[in-house]
């Protein structure tokens, strides 16, 4: 590794789990306004229950927005170059999520890069999100 290059954690390193939320219905409505995603599934309980859900689910992207502070509060010197996820189970208004992250891959050449495996769990301990983030060094990129 180059002198002065950031020290990257080893494969298997775990980022401390962190809770985000709870996301109440007002927060869901605020997110709908700010994002423009006014899908009634998230805003109208009748629509949600008619579609087979127990209550209004929070937006997947509202949950996904928590990944950025989760990672950057851990390592602010890294740039999130990629984020891929699947939404597996709904998280309902009023519930929180708990994020977990683990270093799945690490390389230093040709450029330092980490791959994180990410999981968000619901209060019912079901998987809400599984995903993967690709992290690069900010300094090397001169970005973000």
């Amino acid at each position: 590794m180059e002198s002065g290059a950031p020290q990257l954690p080893e494969v298997g390193h775990k980022i401390p789990a962190r809770e985000f939320g709870p996301f109440d219905q007002k927060m869901v409505e605020q997110y709908a306004l700010a994002s423009g995603d006014d899908n009634p599934l998230h805003l109208d309980r009748k629509v949600a229950t008619a579609a087979g859900l127990a209550d209004t689910p929070i937006h997947g992207l509202l949950m996904l927005a928590c990944v950025e502070p989760y990672i950057l509060d851990w390592r602010s010197d890294l740039f999130i170059a990629g984020l891929r996820c699947k939404f597996l189970n709904p998280v309902f208004a009023g519930e929180a999520i708990r994020l977990f992250g683990r270093v799945a891959s690490r390389r230093v050449s040709p450029r330092p890069e980490l791959i994180l495996r990410l999981v968000a769990r619901t209060p019912r301990d079901t998987l809400a999100i599984v995903g993967e983030a690709t992290l690069l060094c900010r300094q090397a990129r001169g970005a973000r």
Partner: protein, 148 residues
Amino acid sequence: MKGAAERIDSACAGVEPEYTETAPVRLPPVKVRIAPQDVAAFCRATGGHRRPVEVPLTFPARWLALPDARDLIVRSLGDGFIPVHEAQNFAYEHALQIETDYVLTVEARRTPAPPRLTLRMDIATPQGEVCARLETILRIVPAMKPVG
């Protein structure tokens, strides 16, 4: 493990839209500018972001609510159906900057069995350099249970 869309599907079995695979529909390029007040509102609504001078990673997804993109999504879904967010990808070449102009291209493709709508967006500088790409995968499900 059953996903949210699968749960909804099982509640609404028998009312699947009869979608066939279609060729991708690409919207004409759209110019956008990232306004600081929009970033601030987005940061407030998502909470937790300590860096309001930066554009949040997931911010570009809000451009799917621009009139042309929204119209494309609504037309693709059809009456009586709603989208359920199934998967999302972001890939960045460069960070996006506040008070900077970008050009979006949005492409939508509908696929059957199960019905899905895949949206792809490229975000480029006015000079054509791609800064980011995003992909949104939506399951298309009936809005209401069948009567009886």
